[in-house]
Amino acid sequence: MTEHLLRVSSLHKHFGGIAATDDVNLAVKRGQVHAIIGPNGAGKTTLISQLSGQLKADSGDIEFRGRSIINDSAASRARQGLARSFQITSVVMQMNLLENVMLAVQGNSGHSFRFWAPVREDREMQEAAMASLAEVGLQDRAGLIAANVSHGEQRQLEVAMALAMKPRMLLLDEPMAGMGKEEGAMMVDILNRLKGDMTILLVEHDMDAVFSLADQLSVLVNGHIIATDTVDNIRGNHEVQKAYLGDGHA
């Protein structure tokens, strides 16, 4: 077993003349929270999408659990234990919260070429889904249609679905996007509870959240990682401050 669960080497992705991902190298240790910060348009979501397989990289390699996954489909990567959440909420809005999470459980429990037995009567799947909902504090909202709950709750649902996949690693794309202060604090709580058990690659704008959660921090600017270090060292890094943090965090 390698110490690094995820290893990205010289990853490149161009959109026309723009380098969205420019020679990205990254290694995430087992059990750590590795955060990626960077200004808008730095290519954070593009990077996550290449890791999870929604986007194909132009060149470079991605190793997960010591094996290259660069040619695997998104579905295959998910089944190998690499689960992502989406910055723009992507749940099945027409289904209720429990049904959404049950889809995630289902994706993780063998094939679905089963044509007869109703999912609704599958106690085991239901309990697993309820457990994931409880992990993000949504157990009392299980029966509500996803479109009818608050934005913050939809964000929590995103995380619950990722958790229900029983992943080896979570790719969280701005889990706090568009959240109010209280909702944001709740999400930090949820992630803090996962910390230690779960390896997480976290893309987030909220600096306070990142500083309180992350073990390692990478700074992405114009598709290129300009620094990777511990939170304290990054805070003291002059170049990073200039590029991104501004004076407020000096």
Binding site: A74, A75, M95, M161
Partner: protein, 321 residues
């Protein structure tokens, strides 16, 4: 009595099924045997529409080529009968296997596309079937082919006679409805419905959505071929006209009238379509015009189709409780 449907719409559907089950006796009683003919044809189409709704309504795959499978099912009765092979089990096995094979091969290509392209390519494949049948001189080409005798099911239930054929149709319709009902609530159906609403998410959850959709496409084709097999037996005459793309368009309309992605919507939509067609064409030769306007109005104002209206009743009755 807790086996009764709870909702108003559920009770209406239960009543409808009861009427359909007793229809031959009702029509005999009022001395209108022609109505049984009309109803038989409607229920055959309903089977096709139920199968189309499986991919269109539940799966979000809008096919404009579904009538091809009616044709395949019908020719799987007609061509063997031409050579005096009347065994119904043979017809059935042929219809199911030929439609499944054709759906697998063409679906594998169609499902690589999305949206308008999917509509166009399904239509193109069905036109391919249409022109193939059109060119089969041996089997009548555009004159069609007469089937002299119905499929024979020795030691089983005969299709001879209007009433027994009707019950064949009714039984297969019930089977199709029950199968679709089980399917959409099973794991397979959840993947199909989820992929309709949010395919990227389903892939991110680990589902190879392409494979599931292809399997769904094949199942729908097989169910539709049953409708074709029944239609061949019912009319005793088959021709390429059964599968022109306008036919496929009518099937799509029937789904929309009844209610997309609902269990009983397709059945109700088909009945309304066939009855309207019959009534209007008896009134005036310009019935197509009125029919077209009615359909446009239904699509514009009747969101959710007839099932949508009926479920409004459910909400009202709930509000009264």
């Amino acid at each position: 009595m807790n086996w009764l449907p709870v909702t108003v719409s559920g009770r209406i559907y239960a009543l409808l099924l009861l009427i359909l089950a007793l229809a031959p006796f009702i029509f005999e009683w009022i001395n209108q045997p022609f109505y049984l003919d009309l109803l038989s044809r409607a229920l055959i189409l309903a089977i096709a529409v139920v199968s189309l709704n499986l991919i269109l309504g539940f799966g979000g795959m809008v096919s404009l080529g579904h009538a091809a499978y009616i044709g395949i099912g019908a020719y799987c009765v007609g061509i063997p009968s031409y050579y005096d092979y009347y065994n119904g089990w043979l017809h059935l096995a042929l219809a199911l296997s030929v439609s499944a094979t054709f759906a697998l091969l063409t679906g594998a290509i169609c499902l690589r596309t999305k949206g308008v392209y999917f509509i166009m390519i399904t239509m193109a494949f069905s036109q391919m079937v249409y022109f193939t049948f059109l060119s089969l001189e041996e089997y009548g080409a555009d004159d069609g082919l007469v089937i002299y005798s119905r499929s024979e099911f020795p030691e089983f239930i005969s299709m001879d006679g209007a009433t027994s054929l009707y019950y064949w149709i009714f039984a297969l319709l019930l089977a199709a409805l029950f199968f679709v009902h089980r399917l959409v609530h099973a794991r397979f159906g959840r993947v199909i419905v989820g992929s309709k609403f949010n395919e990227p998410r389903m892939q991110a959850l680990g589902f190879n959505t392409y494979r599931y959709r292809l399997a769904c496409y094949v199942l729908a084709a097989m169910i539709c071929s049953l409708a074709g097999m029944l239609l061949g037996n019912f009319t005793g005459f088959i021709s390429p006209d059964m599968i022109g793309w306008a036919r496929s368009g009518e099937l799509v309309f029937m789904v929309i009238i009844g209610g997309v992605g609902t269990l009983f919507g397709p059945l109700v939509g088909t009945l309304v379509f066939v009855v309207l067609e019959e009534v209007l064409s008896a009134i005036t030769v310009y019935w197509h015009l009125i029919f077209g306007i009615l359909l446009v109005a239904l699509v514009l104002f009747g969101k959710g189709g007839i099932h949508g209206w009926l479920s409004l009743l459910d909400r009202k009755s709930k509000a009264h409780d």
